[in-house]
């Protein structure tokens, strides 16, 4: 396998890790104002992701850094092109990050309500924007011969991409509700499960609408034909199975299935893109590919050695943290956030 291909896969893995992991904490953040009926419940909800969200967010930072290192042109075109969308996402992430830390530290209802609103928006907006961004990546965006994005913020918004954004929001809300059902007990757990069931139905519907629209708005499926192949089909089947696992109260299995759905959906997108990393809607020949966007062979070799030595260590201690904080949160206990 050439190093360009390997790094395309590694970056896909990093984004997948980001969506699976931060996906649930975005979902939890979005649901917090609705599922938490009083201050303690809201705190329990926030504390359920307390030990994890920051580590999860590093998957995004690493994906960004790895894109810079392995495909500088991709990084340059994507970040300067999706400029205002990225700006909104950064505002959301900045606000959300401090909100977790600041919220419960001052005992004032107005103070806490303000930060709850920041957590909600800060979780919803990145999910929405990533959905819109992925739909745009699939559909293609105006890119000139010098690899520069020539559209504007509104070029990125279309009915198709907004459906993409919505399906991401719903997917993460479902994923988050299931995570909550694993971390809580009693009333909150019951409510999380109910929410998962309700959101799950809409997630399934909107995801299928999105897939259907993709047949018309992108070249992904026309490239491979009517049968999209095993990965997306399996993603669909796994998503449908979530409803079953929620009904039989197998929360762990249901959460595993939403994780698998996110993995397979992300894989579908990256498989559809390959070997392109950004599709030019102006002229297909101007698309960025893993060949014209990549770093030199030397740099990719260095980065490969670094990645293969560090990633196992990172995975080991991140898995260890999930093990340390595996116990469900009980009402009445000490809360750090």
């Amino acid at each position: 396998m050439s190093l360009d291909v390997l790094w395309f896969i590694l970056i896909a893995v990093l984004y997948t890790g980001y969506f699976v992991l931060e996906g649930f904490d975005y979902g939890v953040g979005m649901l917090m104002p609705f599922l938490g009926k009083n201050d303690e419940q809201r705190r329990l909800i926030i504390n359920s992701i307390g030990p994890f969200w920051d580590g999860n967010e590093v998957w995004l930072l690493t994906a960004g850094g790895a894109t810079f290192a392995a495909f500088p042109n991709w990084y340059a075109t994507l970040f300067s092109g999706f400029y205002l969308a990225l700006f909104l996402m950064l505002l959301a992430l900045i606000g959300r990050g401090v909100a977790f830390e600041f919220r419960s530290k001052v005992d004032s209802q107005a103070w806490r309500n303000t930060w709850d609103w920041v957590i909600f928006t800060g979780s919803l907006l990145p999910a929405l924007l990533w959905g819109v961004a992925l739909a745009n990546l699939m559909q293609g965006v105006p890119i000139d011969a010098q690899m520069n994005f020539t559209g504007n913020f509104f070029t990125l918004l279309s009915p198709y991409t907004v459906v993409g954004g919505l399906s991401m929001v719903l997917m993460f809300a479902l994923h988050g509700a299931l995570f909550l059902s694993l971390r809580t007990v009693g009333e909150l757990q019951v409510r999380a499960r109910q929410t998962a069931r309700r959101v799950g139905m809409w997630t399934t519907i909107v995801m299928f609408v999105f897939v259907l629209l993709s047949y018309f708005f992108t070249d992904m499926f026309t490239k491979i034909g009517v049968d999209p192949g095993p990965v997306p089909v399996l993603a669909g089947l796994v998503l449908i199975s979530v409803a079953f696992f929620i009904r039989v109260k197998k929360d762990g299995w249901a959460f595993a299935m939403t994780s698998v759905t996110i993995v397979l959906s992300t894989a579908t997108i990256f498989l559809g893109l390959f070997p392109r990393v950004m599709v030019s809607s102006t002229n297909p020949a101007w698309s960025l590919t893993i060949y014209n966007a990549s770093s030199s062979h030397y740099t990719l070799t260095v980065m490969t050695i670094v990645a293969f030595s560090l990633v196992p260590i990172v995975l080991a201690y991140q898995i260890w943290t999930y093990w340390v904080f595996r116990k469900r949160l009980q009402p009445g206990g000490h809360l750090d956030y």
Partner: protein, 461 residues
């Protein structure tokens, strides 16, 4: 040109703002790890209370540092896409490695530390603090490796229309990196130390929680002395290296328009006429610039005009002179801050050793304000080093005005510049409010807001 101007302001504001939080993160976590180690070694509960109190302030500061760091990593692609395309092959890897090696470590173990008090054994818990300390310091190494490349590009070859890495080892053994990192790191340590010393002084003046804050003061002031002395000594190393790598920055920091005499005097106060390129007033101390540049009282230092002529023959026609008055004064303010830090810390150590701290309330009150000194030092230091590199974004390779994103309009940069500045301002105010809030409450209150208020209410009524 407006784009370049706005993008530079945005970069400057984000970086300076981010670097208000980073040094305290690096410095404070080391002191906290020391305090917690003392707790684990001695079992003395006072050290645990100290650890928890400083830990709370650390976490507030850490949160802002982290979120502004996200911006730091993404703004290269947003506003500087031509730069990113040109140097991404060399500049991207340190950033990616920083995320992989350091960001994961610090963010994971900060959470383990915060949430793990009753889930981990004390030894594993203190290890988490040390891992955070290691992670944040490692982060500094990698981001400074990237910065060092901008100051002194090494380990690359120009081909395929861009800079491509051809020697990773050269990149991370860059001499510039190893004069820059220790200076920045000890500066960060002194920030943490002055913070602990200053906040403790505030309590000592009020005779509150003397057990916790006498010890905190002692630990803080010792670290403050060692760290500020080393910051200055290592800064001197860095200045000497400027003579080799960036003589223009050195000349600008002295407003030295023409090459000095063999025994170069150091300007202590100058009125700079930037347009006519002369200093109508210039008060000098003999020999000191030679010492600064070469560590000997002799050796002439090249002037701005001479280096400008040299650069024109080397890089072609153009203006290679940075904004002199900014470099000149930021350098002097930094040096002054460093000097005051050493003197104040030295005095504090003497008083501590003589066990006379509690009687010197005036000194203690000064130390509260002295918290600002390392911040002044860092900010002016970065302004000097980054603005002193102009007009280059990568010294000798790429000029700043060629690095911006070609299709990002100035209206877009205005939007993000105002948006980020506004959120930074709000966040800064909230951050200070939280600090004051918790410092007022003190170490024993504020464990949990509900308990805290239960304790506070009777006191207030």
């Amino acid at each position: 040109m407006l784009n370049v101007f706005l993008a530079r302001w945005q970069f400057g504001i984000t970086t300076v703002y981010h670097f208000l939080f980073v040094p305290l993160t690096i410095g404070l976590i080391i002191l906290i790890a020391v305090m917690e180690s003392m707790y684990v070694a001695s079992g003395n509960d006072v050290y645990k209370r100290m650890t928890k109190f400083w830990g709370k302030l650390f976490l507030i500061n850490f949160a802002v540092g982290v979120v502004t760091g996200i911006m730091q990593e993404f703004q290269f692609g947003m506003n500087w896409s031509s730069y990113s395309r040109f140097v991404g092959d060399v500049f991207g890897p340190p950033l990616a490695i920083e995320a992989l090696a350091a960001f994961f470590l610090e963010s994971t173990f900060v959470a383990v530390w915060l949430f793990g008090w009753d889930k981990l054994s004390p030894k594993v818990h203190v290890l988490a603090a040390w891992l955070v300390a290691f992670g944040v310091s490692l982060s500094a190494v990698w981001i400074l490796a990237a910065n060092a490349f901008m100051q002194e590009p090494v380990g690359y070859v120009l081909q395929h229309g861009r800079a491509e890495m051809n020697n990773f080892w050269a990149l991370i053994s860059n001499y510039q990196l190893w004069v820059e990192f220790p200076h920045v790191w000890f500066g960060a340590l002194s920030t943490g130390a002055f913070f602990v010393t200053g906040v403790s002084a505030w309590y000592l003046v009020r005779k509150r929680d003397l057990e916790v804050f006498t010890r905190s003061f002692q630990i803080g002031v010792m670290f403050a002395l060692v760290a500020s002395v080393l910051t200055v000594v290592l800064g001197h190393e860095q200045a000497q290296h400027l003579m080799v790598a960036q003589p223009m920055k050195m000349a600008a920091s002295e407003a030295l328009w023409n090459t000095s005499a063999y025994h170069a005097p150091w300007s202590i106060f100058a009125v700079i006429d930037e347009a006519r390129q002369v200093n109508p007033v210039d008060i000098k101390i003999p020999y000191v610039l030679s010492i600064l540049a070469y560590n000997h009282p002799y050796g002439s230092v090249p002037g701005i005009h001479q280096i400008q002529a040299l650069y024109q023959s080397r890089y072609g026609p153009g203006n290679y002179i940075p904004l002199v008055w900014v470099i000149y004064w930021s350098f002097r303010v930094m040096v002054l801050a460093g000097t005051l830090m050493i003197l104040l810390a030295l005095y504090g150590v003497i008083l501590t050793l003589k066990n006379r701290i509690s009687r010197h309330t005036t000194y203690l009150k000064w130390m509260v304000f002295a918290i600002a000194l390392p911040y002044i030092g860092h900010t002016t230091g970065w302004i000097m080093t980054e603005m002193g590199r102009q007009p280059w974004v990568v010294m000798g390779l790429l000029k700043t005005n060629l690095g911006v994103s070609p299709t990002v309009t100035s209206a877009m940069v205005w939007t993000t510049l105002l948006g980020f500045s506004l959120i930074y301002l709000v966040m800064g105010l909230v951050d200070v409010y939280m600090f004051v809030h918790f410092i007022r409450k003190g170490p024993d209150l504020g464990e949990d807001p509900s308990e805290m208020d239960a304790k506070l209410t009777p006191a207030l009524s």
